[in-house]
C-alpha cells in the first residue's frame, strides 16, 4: 500500500447478499463506498443506531480475501443473547444500509505475499479471520505450507466445511492440511479427532506442520489461551504465536 494513511471512519455500507453457512452463522456481503484493500485477519466494526439514538457496536472479522474488491464479507454467528447478531440474522435484508468502520487490525494479520508457513487453530467462529487468510493464499496461488486445526461441535456446525475440503484437496499440491476435531457429535464412520483441543492433539498436529510456521489462534478465550499455553510448553516460541480472543463461547 502507499505511504499515505487513509483515515478509517464510519461509512454507510449496503448489504448486497446474505448467505447461510450453518444453522447459526450467516455471511453478509457488503458493498462499501470507500472500500480499501484489507489484510487477512483484519476486521470491521459494525454499528447499529436505534430510533432513540441508542447505539450498539461489535467487531466482525473479514471472511473474504482482499481480491474481492469493492466490498467485504462478514460471517456472523447468531448468539443467543446477542444484541447485534440477533438483529443482523433476524431483521437485516439485502439492500439495507449498515454503518461499518475498517479495515482494522495490524497484529493478527497475515498476507500471502509476505507471509511464511502457517499453523492456524480455530474454535467455532474463530475460523472466520483464518478463512480470509486461506482464501487469500489460494487466490494468490501461494505455496507456503499451511495446516489448519479446526474445533467445532459437529460437522454441521463447522463453518466452510466443504470449501475447506476443496482448498485442501485442490489439484496439484495445495500445501494445505485441514484437520477437524468434532467435539460433541460426529458423522457415521468418522475417524478424525472427537475431543477438545489438548496438548496431545497439538503435539500430533505440530508433527504435520512446517517447523517455521507462524501460529494464529482464534476463537473462544478458553480455547485460545489453553492452546497457546500448550504450544509454548511444546516448544513453540511465544514470539511465533499470535492470538485473537472472541470472548466466552457463544454455545
Amino acid at each position: 500500500m502507499s505511504g499515505v494513511p487513509q483515515p478509517i471512519t464510519w461509512q454507510l455500507a449496503t448489504v448486497s447478499a446474505i448467505r447461510p453457512e450453518t444453522a447459526n452463522v450467516k455471511t453478509f456481503a457488503f458493498s462499501l463506498p470507500d472500500w480499501q484493500p484489507h489484510m487477512p485477519g483484519q476486521h470491521y466494526d459494525l454499528r447499529l443506531t436505534a430510533a432513540d439514538g441508542y447505539q450498539a457496536q461489535r467487531s466482525y472479522s473479514i471472511a473474504s480475501p482482499p481480491e474481492q474488491a469493492g466490498g467485504v464479507e462478514l460471517s456472523i454467528e447468531r448468539l443467543p443473547d446477542g444484541e447485534v447478531s440477533a438483529f443482523m440474522h433476524d431483521t437485516v435484508m439485502v439492500g439495507d444500509r449498515i454503518e461499518l468502520r475498517g479495515p482494522i487490525g495490524g497484529y493478527f494479520v497475515w498476507s500471502a505475499v509476505s507471509g511464511g508457513p502457517l499453523l492456524l487453530i480455530a474454535g467455532g467462529s474463530g475460523i472466520v479471520p483464518l478463512m480470509a487468510m486461506l482464501r487469500e493464499r489460494a487466490a494468490a496461488g501461494a505455496r507456503q505450507p499451511a495446516t489448519l486445526l479446526y474445533s467445532s461441535r459437529s460437522r454441521d456446525e463447522a463453518i466452510y466445511f466443504d470449501e475447506l475440503a476443496q482448498l485442501a484437496g485442490s489439484a496439484g499440491s495445495s500445501g494445505l492440511t485441514v484437520i477437524h476435531t468434532l467435539t460433541r457429535s460426529q458423522p457415521p464412520g468418522w475417524t478424525g479427532y472427537s475431543r477438545r483441543i489438548d496438548a496431545a492433539m497439538l503435539r500430533e498436529v505440530l508433527a504435520r506442520t512446517d517447523p517455521n510456521a507462524t501460529v494464529f489462534i482464534c476463537g473462544p478465550t478458553p480455547l485460545v489461551e489453553s492452546a497457546a499455553g500448550s504450544l509454548v510448553d511444546l516448544g513453540v516460541p511465544a514470539s511465533r504465536i499470535r492470538t485473537e480472543r472472541f470472548g466466552p463461547t457463544g454455545n
Binding site: M1, S59, R101, R245
Partner: protein, 99 residues
C-alpha cells in the same frame, strides 16, 4: 494492582485482547495500534498492544499486561469527551511502515 485468578474470577473467560479494541485505539491515536509494542510500567514486560488482555464489560476499556495483569492502558468516556490513562505504559513503539 488486583490479581485476576482464573479459578476465582469468572470474568477471565470473557476477557478479550487488544485486537478487540483496535477501533477505539485507532480513534485515539489516529493510526493502527495493535502492532505497536509497549513496555508495562509495572513489570517491564514488552509486548504488542494486540496481546494485552482487554476488559470491556465495565465502564470504559482496560488493557492489562499479559505477564503481570497490571493495567497498561485505560480508556474511558467522560461527560465532555474521553480520557486515555497511560500511566501503566512506560513507552510505546510502532513499526516504520504501515502494513
Amino acid at each position: 494492582m488486583d490479581d485476576l485468578n482464573q479459578e476465582e474470577d469468572p470474568t477471565d473467560w470473557m476477557r478479550l485482547d487488544g485486537n478487540a479494541v483496535a477501533g477505539a485505539l485507532m480513534e485515539w491515536f489516529g493510526m493502527e495500534m495493535t502492532a505497536a509494542s509497549g513496555e508495562c510500567n509495572h513489570c517491564g514486560n514488552v509486548a504488542a498492544i494486540g496481546t494485552l488482555h482487554a476488559y470491556t464489560r465495565g465502564p470504559g476499556i482496560v488493557l492489562r499486561c499479559s505477564a503481570c495483569q497490571g493495567i497498561v492502558l485505560r480508556l474511558v468516556q467522560t461527560p465532555s469527551g474521553s480520557l486515555l490513562d497511560a500511566r501503566g505504559t512506560a513507552w510505546l513503539a510502532r513499526p516504520t511502515s504501515a502494513a
